[in-house]
């Protein structure tokens, strides 16, 4: 069974938050949604879980008790303990008390939250609270796992642990859709969707995304068109559209270059 969106457009007032977006999620697949602030990542995820009703298009999703969702906020109840949070969510998803207890033990051990099970959620660090949110989203072993920037604000060690949990959920058969602002993380996904101002710039596996660059990216210390350049370390990278003669040293772009170039290309009206 696959899930996803077909031709979905979401508008908030006069703003197009998502335009004609199609996404297919296979069981066991991890899809990364990438984009800057206001790109439409959260709107896409909220449309998928039924929190936003599209203006047009269709959403194909499992029943709510088969969806796990980690919102951009903590997603946990601050005045409940770790165990109580899991218990509340598990029971709400229809698990029995013993099933919740067994599942909580398993998840807390995997997430390294064993020793914090009686601590209130508000007493957890940011990373621990995101891991708790992840455990809550997966407590009922959902078919579709939707994670809104699970690793934002999380320290590097906790990010690695979160990724391990995501991989385990996917290995268990869940289709995972997660938004992220970290491109190194995005490269680990089986499929990437890059959004910009609600538009899909790219939708492909990472290796295909890397090969999909339109135009040329060069390194330079003195960009010819500063509006098409971005700083990478001590140098600048500059995007040159097809048909223009690049000035600088042509490079093999990485994912960050491809995403930025795709965004510049869309704004310049250059088709991918």
């Amino acid at each position: 069974m696959t899930w996803g969106l077909t031709g979905v457009t979401v508008r908030f007032g006069v703003t197009n938050a998502l335009v004609d977006t199609t996404l297919t999620v296979e069981p066991g697949q991890v899809i990364g949604i990438v984009g800057g602030d206001g790109a439409g990542k959260t709107t896409l995820l909220r449309a998928l879980v039924g929190e936003v009703v599209p203006r047009s298009g269709s959403v194909h999703a499992p029943a709510p008790h088969r969806i796990g969702y980690l919102p951009a906020s903590s997603g946990s109840w601050a005045e409940l303990s770790v165990r109580e949070n899991l218990e509340f969510v598990g029971r709400s998803f229809g698990l029995s008390t013993s099933q919740v207890a067994a599942r909580a033990d398993e998840l807390l051990a995997r997430a390294g939250l064993d020793s914090a099970r009686d601590r209130l959620a508000r007493q957890l660090s940011g990373g621990m609270r995101r891991k708790l949110g992840f455990c809550m989203a997966t407590v009922a072993e959902p078919d579709l796992l939707v994670l809104d920037e699970p690793s934002t604000g999380v320290d590097p060690v906790s990010r690695v642990e979160l990724w391990r949990l995501v991989s385990l959920a996917a290995a268990g058969g869940a289709g995972v859709v997660m938004s992220t602002t970290y491109l190194d993380e995005a490269e680990r996904c089986g499929h990437l969707m890059v959004l910009d101002e609600g538009h899909v710039l790219l939708s492909a596996p990472p290796e295909e995304a890397l090969a999909s660059l339109v135009g040329t990216v060069v390194t330079t210390t003195d960009p010819v068109h500063p509006e098409r350049a971005w700083r990478r370390g001590r140098t600048h990278h500059e995007w040159w559209p097809p048909g223009e003669r690049p000035v600088g040293s042509t490079i093999t772009p990485d994912l960050e270059d491809v995403v930025i170039a795709a965004s510049l290309a869309r704004r310049a009206g250059v088709a991918a």
């Binding site: 039924g50 269709s58 499992p62 029943a63 969702y69 906020s73 903590s74 997603g75 946990s76």
Partner: protein
């Protein structure tokens, strides 16, 4: 810095509304409502010499009933039902005057006028013989406590889900919207009911406030009133993004109720325009019920007006607020996809 502050203020409409609304409200209240002196009281004159006595009474007594056939029991009943504030028993000399002590300021003014009439009359203050302020205030304060819990505490509790982002979590969880709403409101209903019982028992125990009426009638009035104030709390949560905003709105809704419900200033002494505002406030009606049941032992049929008014308010406010809150929960549920695999489709 000043320009920044004004820019922020201009965009904070609630604060602007409070800056404009509060002085106007206080001006109106203290100008037209802050008046303890009662100029007239509704009066019944009964007994064989009712016509003669009624003709001799000063203007302070607004005689609405004169009946030679009615007895002392009828007069007592009229005062108990608050059909009148005062009843003269014109069956001899001195004339006995039954005064409703639960209407404190009217009773104080009446006793003062009767004292000037000398030994022709004997005042019999019913329901609050020593004209104790606490006896009148405590039934009203019960309503104030219910308003506080129902409006402020409930709205903060609900808005906390929004600020913490857990409302979003609840919205996508497989729980019916009605279950979420019921689960959120029920604890506050129970807490308010507990507080109401505690304050009532303490009021009776510590201050000797009588409980002359039917507990079931009191409980019915309190339950309906709770639905009104819980509805207000839910409504406030739907128009507030954080606890500060919720408290601001709740304060703006509570202040007129405290000042205009008859708890502090007597309704009879208010200017007509302000009195009509008071009649639009739920606490006014709960105070009528609580004072009526506790002090006068008023029967349910004499409380049809406050009970009816509160029922209409409860239906309108609670239903409207719950529907607004429900709208904040997953919008896709409104399309009937709460259960089972769903395909949402929208047409272009």
């Amino acid at each position: 810095m000043v320009v920044k502050e004004f820019r922020e203020l201009r965009r904070d409409r609630r604060t602007v509304a409070m800056i404009v609304f509060m002085p106007l409200l206080l001006l109106v209240i203290f100008g037209y409502a802050a008046n303890f002196s009662v100029d007239s009281v509704t009066t019944a004159v009964v007994g064989p010499q009712a016509d003669q006595v009624a003709g001799m009474l000063p203007d302070f007594f607004d005689v609405t009933t004169t009946d030679t056939a009615l007895t002392e029991a009828d007069a007592h009943d009229m005062v108990q039902r608050r059909d009148v504030d005062v009843a003269f028993l014109a069956d001899g000399t001195p004339v006995t005057v039954l005064v409703d002590g639960s209407n404190l300021f009217a009773a104080q003014a009446t006793v003062s006028v009767l004292n000037k009439m000398g030994d022709q009359v004997t005042a019999d203050v019913l329901f609050n013989p020593d004209l104790e302020t606490s006896w009148v205030m405590i039934p009203a304060i019960i309503g104030l406590i219910l308003t506080f819990i129902g409006t402020i505490v409930t709205s903060i509790g609900l808005v906390r889900e929004r600020t913490a982002g857990t409302l979003e979590q609840l919205a996508v969880m497989p729980i019916r919207a009605s279950t979420v709403i019921l689960g959120k409101i029920a604890p506050y209903f129970l807490l308010a009911a507990f507080d109401m019982t505690l304050v009532t028992v303490l009021g009776v125990w510590l201050f000797g406030v009588p409980f002359n009426g039917n507990v079931a009638v009191f409980a019915l009035g309190a339950a309906i009133f709770l639905f009104v104030v819980l509805g207000l709390g839910v409504f406030i949560s739907t128009i507030s993004q954080n606890a500060g905003q919720a408290i601001q709105v709740a304060f703006m809704l509570m202040l007129p109720q405290i000042l205009l419900s008859g708890m502090i200033f007597p309704l009879d002494a208010m200017a007509a325009g302000v009195r009509w505002i008071a009649y639009g406030l739920p606490l006014t009606y709960f105070t009528m019920i609580s004072q009526g049941v506790m002090l006068r032992g008023a029967p349910i049929d004499s409380l049809w007006l406050p009970l009816g008014a509160l029922t209409v308010m409860a239906l309108l406010i609670f239903t409207g607020a719950v529907l607004r809150f429900r709208r904040d929960l997953a919008p896709s549920r409104r399309r009937g996809h709460a259960h089972g695999e769903h395909v949402e489709a929208a047409t272009r």
